[in-house]
Amino acid sequence: MSATAHPELSVRSFLARDYGLLDWLTTRDHKRIAILYALGITFFFFLGGVAATLIRFNLVEPQGAIMSAETYNKTFTFHGVVMVWFFLIPSIPATLGNFLLPLMIGARDVAFPRLNLASWYLYIGGGLFTIAALLAGGVDTGWTFYTPFSTMFSNSNVFLVVIGVFITGFSSIFTGLNFIVTVHSLRTRGMHWFRLPLFVWGIYATSLVMVLATPVLAMTLALIGLERGLGVGVFDPALGGDPLLFQHLFWFYSHPAVYIMILPAMGVASEIITCFVRRRIFGYRFMTYSMLAIAVIGFLVWGHHMFVAGQSVYASTLFSLLSFIVAVPSAIKVFNWTATLRKGDISFEAPMLYALGFVGLFMLGGLTGLILAAPALDIPLTDTYFVIAHFHYVMVGGSVMAYLGGIHYWWPKITGWLYPEGWARFAAILMFFGFNLTFFPQYLLGYEGMPRRYFSYLPEFQLLNILSSAGASILAVGYLMPALYLLWSLRYGRAAGNNPWDARGLEWQTSSPPPKENFLSPPVVREPYAYHEAAP
């Protein structure tokens, strides 16, 4: 990176000096650790993307175009494991969260910088270990590792992969712990709780979920490992164990985990929308309380993944009811974003296109979630492409869109350079269309009864599958574009200046890129989103 050539880059920039690989690998600066995470996450995203491309390519033909059924099983497992644990979970919290959280609260770093670096090593170590195990032999259980298949019948590398995910789980736990303590104890003078930007609230709520849910996953995976390694355990029905217990424990983590993925995305969208409408967020307190409500109620809905698993009808009714309740705070957020937009002076810069895409796609994903929360509708739709489409609308249309929006929005702050706006808008629009073309047909396929995870399908589903695969190729081009023009901007981009969007967050009061200690003079703290006032 040619950082010193930048006119506004003082030698104090966190990117200047100490260029060596070893300096980066031993850094305790939250901003550099964020960039380390971004590199890892991008790597895993493209690996998972390759698997997705192969899946879609194979599904062009009803009998499979390129791979055997066994390879197909391993490919979708690869896609799920990599995308969930090595991309979506750490994506916004570990990159944007790490970079921005201390800046937004006016702190010099996170509370435990060494632990922060250790978390990255756990993440990257667990990730590479898992990838190695997935490539050398693979796993065919799906990312959910359901017992008793995973413990008794699967002849694949389940043991190694659960170890990899187990290790990475600690990265999540320590990151969450670090962020909780940072928000509690390192807020600068005047930054009281209801002046925190909604991104910080999103990261805070996420961290609570990370800290309280991930240990359950780690322990459950350890039990799977013990059961496979030693042939002893509590899930094996041959030993009198209960395979359903695994599903309960797994979803006790994995449902809250989708809130780990979406809550930070909601924070990003709130920052971007207010900036490009030049307004306060509508209903700030409602936004904060709804984030916390999602984090809390999110722990009580896991049973809606088990409507057909044989749980009692009373449990299903209760889980269904709670799943409807968790939709209320999510809806509050969508209403508040639209109310913020209403009669606003909206400018459609690239980050805003991503944020608007996020709101629309999240809403579609959320509304189909309500359909799946009702047992009467869920039972026929269980394990069909309707479910696939639902969670890809939330996870890809929601989280990935918001992640990319956030990367664009804060790119000038992180690097000091502006990306080419025209290309960025084009990529955002291309992704939106590519995404809908990929996943909307899957709603229809699921409604017509095409089951997920099947290698082959009935010939009458072929047209919609071809449409979906065509959309996937557009989406792939859309994802490659930012990778190219963002790298291009590092060399040829225009200098961004400290506050290219005329935004109001504390992070825009320091230089771009920020100095190592974040602020050379203490930032001015006012209410968040003070777009009705001049910038300090």
Binding site: R108, F112, L177, P215, M219, L223, L239, G241
Partner: protein, 224 residues
């Protein structure tokens, strides 16, 4: 305080504040909160094991009662006593260091670590006895009777829970032993004791978890 003591900082009176903190108070509060959050994650780690135990015991009440009678209640009770005493000793050690009584603090901490170590030794004896009685699932499990499956399940959970707990005890013994050396060297004092306090918090958690382990493992089948 004499002029000499001011110019040359006495033991345990200097606190190095890391650059992200404004002062020692903020640093202390952050470290304490961090420890409490960590303890919350620990409870969830153990929670999975206790939840699994609860489900299995509801499924097989008679088998679990029978299996529990195979455990060594005497040793279990002794372990409980040892751990409870050690937990109170480390609380006294923290109080001693706050009062700048270094020598009693070192003795109390060494006693804590020794009691922790003796807990592990007693567990070793228990595991040895169970090995001789062929009660170790996956390695050597030879039992008969109507509830043999449930007994095996119980002993799986027994090893998961006590094994995971013993790992915690082992880490605690190492940490407290190391800290005792540092206290003896004068690293800590009335102004600087956060690390000790956090180690004590951790040790109390290890203790509290055992308070739940003891009845569910050792006392289930003993009343009837």
């Amino acid at each position: 305080m004499s002029a000499v003591a001011e110019s040359v900082p006495a033991r345990g009176e200097t606190v190095s504040v890391e650059e992200q903190y404004d002062d020692a108070v903020q640093q202390r509060e952050a470290a304490t909160l961090g420890m409490w959050v960590f303890l919350a994650t620990e409870i969830l780690f153990f929670g999975v094991l206790f939840a699994s135990y609860t489900i299995c015991r509801v499924l097989y009440p008679l088998g679990f009662a029978e299996a529990s009678r195979h455990t060594d209640m005497l040793l279990g009770t002794a372990e409980t006593a040892v751990l409870l005493i050690s937990s109170s000793l480390i609380a006294l050690a923290v109080r001693a260091i706050k009062l700048d009584e270094r020598r009693p603090a070192v003795i109390l901490m060494c006693a804590t670590a020794l009691l922790g170590a003796s807990f592990l030794v007693m567990h070793g004896f228990e595991y040895h006895d169970e090995y001789q009685e062929h009660l170790i699932p996956g390695i050597d499990f030879q039992q008969t009777g109507p509830h043999v499956r449930a007994v095996e399940l119980f002993f799986c959970l027994y090893y998961f829970i006590t094994g995971f707990h013993s790992v915690h005890v082992f880490i605690g013994v190492c940490v407290i032993g190391t800290l005792a050396v540092r206290v003896a060297r004068g690293t800590f004092g009335p102004q600087r004791y956060t690390t000790l306090e956090l180690a004590a918090l951790y040790w109390h958690l290890v203790d509290i978890v055992w308070i739940f382990v003891y009845p569910v493992i050792y006392l289930v089948g003993r009343s009837g």
